[in-house]
């Protein structure tokens, strides 16, 4: 028995043992597929049911070049960014407004619990179902939206709304906003509730208006949460698949084609271009990895700041003890 070191070190090996299942599953189901995807990006792997890989001999980067210069991928990437931006901005503004209202000390909103439950509800429902539901709503000639527009005299006869690129994209943007603002709102509310109430009290005493309080106290104090929401939403947005796939499957005219849908279609339809899909996946992987690193550094700095504070306190306590000891001696 090694009893030279303090007790906990004897148990250190359990740190490794208990992490083994995670590590094995990660290697098998995450790391290996990631590396394999990257490798396929450099091969000629295509065709349903094909698995044998041969590296490209003429130009190793051909798939990447093809994908990056493909108008379809460029359009898909643009669409993804546009759809994300157009849903994130209103989603954030609405969530901020609601969070400010719900946490306002002066106008205590009653029934908050019920509102939160209802506004969050779309988020929990299967996106696939919602996409098909909305595609039914905009049906032609007898969908509910057409029915509404005709009945209230906005239009004379039903129109095929989803043939318009703007309408199709607009609906996808609406669905995304509608599904996510409730979640963002609850996150922001909990962030605001985490701010020390004294700050708000003193602002009130100083006669700060609602708007002033919001911009000078609330906003600066939830910066980290805002950034967290931004990055997670961006990563989620870059992977948007369910809604565009089942709403119009990228139509009309590729107006709702996102990068995830592009990858899926390359790999699992037509001529089963696994290699191109893998190259496109890797492009997205790199973008997301960069975003994840940014997030990591921001969050790590916060953690580290806390740690430093703890160390300082411990040092102080130690110094005090030392001083006390000296005095006693």
């Amino acid at each position: 028995m090694k009893s030279k070191k303090p007790g906990y070190d004897r148990y250190a090996k359990y740190g490794y043992i208990f992490s083994i299942p995670f590590v094995i599953a990660f290697l098998l189901f995450s790391l290996y597929p990631t590396v394999y995807t990257a490798v396929i990006g450099f091969t000629d792997l295509k065709g349903l049911g094909k698995t044998d890989i041969h590296f490209l001999t003429d130009d190793l980067f051909r798939n990447f070049k093809t994908v990056l210069s493909s108008p379809s991928f460029q359009l898909a990437f643009r669409n993804t960014v546009v759809i994300w931006l157009a849903n994130f901005i209103p989603q954030m503004l609405l969530a901020l407004l609601l969070a400010a209202w719900f946490t306002d000390r002066r106008s205590k909103v009653k029934g908050q619990g019920t509102f939160k439950v209802l506004l969050y509800m779309p988020n929990i429902i299967t996106a696939a179902t919602i996409a098909i539901l909305f595609s039914g709503f905009f049906g032609y000639p007898m969908g509910p939206v057409n029915d509404f527009l005709v009945r209230f005299g906005f239009i004379d006869a039903p129109i095929e709304l989803l043939r318009s690129k703007a309408v199709a994209r607009g609906v996808v943007i609406f669905i995304q906003t509608w599904m996510w603002y409730g979640s963002t709102m609850i996150t922001l509310i909990s962030g605001i509730l985490g701010i020390s109430p004294e700050i708000f009290e003193s602002a009130e005493v100083d006669g700060a208006s609602r708007v002033q309080t919001f911009f000078y106290i609330t906003m600066p104090n939830i910066k980290t949460i805002l950034l967290f929401t931004l990055v997670t939403s961006l990563i989620g947005g870059l992977n948007m698949f369910d809604i565009p796939r089942l709403f119009q499957d990228g139509k009309p005219d590729d107006a709702t084609l996102t990068t995830s849908l592009f990858i899926y279609k390359q790999a699992f339809s037509g001529s089963y271009m696994y290699n191109r899909a893998a190259a496109a996946s890797m492009v997205m992987f790199v973008i997301i990895a960069i975003l994840a690193s940014i997030m990591f550094f921001v969050m790590r700095d916060k953690d580290e700041a806390q740690l430093n504070k703890q160390i300082k306190q411990q040092q102080k306590a130690y110094a005090k003890k030392l001083k006390a000891g000296k005095e006693n001696a």
């Binding site: 490794y16 995807t37 209802l118 969050y120």
Partner: protein
């Protein structure tokens, strides 16, 4: 006085906006449920109605007469969601415990690693995953959708954040003195402490697994293995093109269980969402 009046106007504005948004949340599902009880002819005449009709059974009959089989989808989704959630919960707690309770050399490096990979979605590596699974002839096996849950970096992160201030090492030490083995301490003492975190994480893991479309869509080609979201996607097919009532019925059947469970657990779910934000 003026301030008071301003306050009252403000309040009216807040309530009007909130009620409008609440209606917006409910209305699509309401129209869906009502249309599920109406005949195709009724829907063709007026696609919006707030009053249910009497064709519910008829719609169910047409729906089930074709390829849509909610019972199979429900069963498969249940197996996958329960399996994945159980594995994710148990092994994430174990990994988090290794982080909090033991002092090992690679601990911090391992945690940094978890924080980086937790943001990377499985979707971008799906081609490699599909090829791997295909090669070993495991497509159409539900286990391929369950086992990856053993490594759930996000959940490890949240479990660690919960366990760090909660776990008392004195208790662990006491158990050791009583002769308990490390693995037993985790199962008998630590897991019960983590119950609140497990409850919220379980709900989110279950819902995410239940709603997942991408992975099952890639891996499952056998109709008998279809999950609920893939079943739903069948409703877009040509065979249901003119059966409006039964399409709405199919959608309703997939949504109702979720809404019921959501309303029952909403308190915990909302609290869980809030926790995610602060902890993040």
């Amino acid at each position: 006085m003026l301030n008071n009046k301003e306050n009252r106007v403000m309040k009216v504005v807040i309530y009007v906006v909130c009620i409008f948004l609440a209606i917006l949340s409910v209305l699509p599902f309401w129209i869906m449920i009502v249309n599920a009880t109406r005949s195709t002819t009724e829907i063709q005449q007026h696609a919006i109605s707030l009053i249910p009709s009497s064709y519910m059974m008829n719609n169910i009959k047409i729906l089930l007469g074709k390829s849509f089989n909610p019972a199979v989808g429900f069963g498969n989704s249940l197996i996958i969601s329960i399996g994945a959630t159980a594995l994710a919960i148990y092994f994430s707690s174990l990994t988090a415990y290794a982080q909090v309770a033991y002092n090992w050399k690679l601990r911090n490096a391992f945690f940094s690693f978890i924080m980086v990979v937790m943001m990377i979605p499985a979707q971008v590596t799906m081609i490699g995953f599909y090829q791997m699974v295909y090669k070993i002839h495991m497509t159409n096996r539900l286990s391929m959708l369950i086992l990856p849950a053993i490594a759930s970096p996000t959940m490890v992160f949240f479990m660690r954040q919960y366990l760090q201030p909660t776990l008392s090492m004195e208790m662990v030490q006491a158990a050791r003195i009583d002769g308990a083995k490390e693995f037993m301490i985790f199962n008998r003492i630590v897991l019960p402490i983590m119950k609140p975190a497990i409850a919220t994480q379980a709900i989110f893991s279950f819902v995410a697994s239940w709603n997942n479309l991408f992975t099952p869509l890639v891996l499952l080609t056998d109709q008998k293995k279809y999950t609920m979201p893939i079943m739903v996607s069948l409703l877009k097919g040509d065979i249901y093109k003119t059966e409006y009532g039964s399409v709405y019925m199919g959608l309703t059947l997939t949504v109702l269980p979720l809404i019921i469970v959501y309303l029952l657990l909403s308190k915990y779910i909302i609290a869980g969402v809030a926790l995610g934000g602060v902890k993040g």
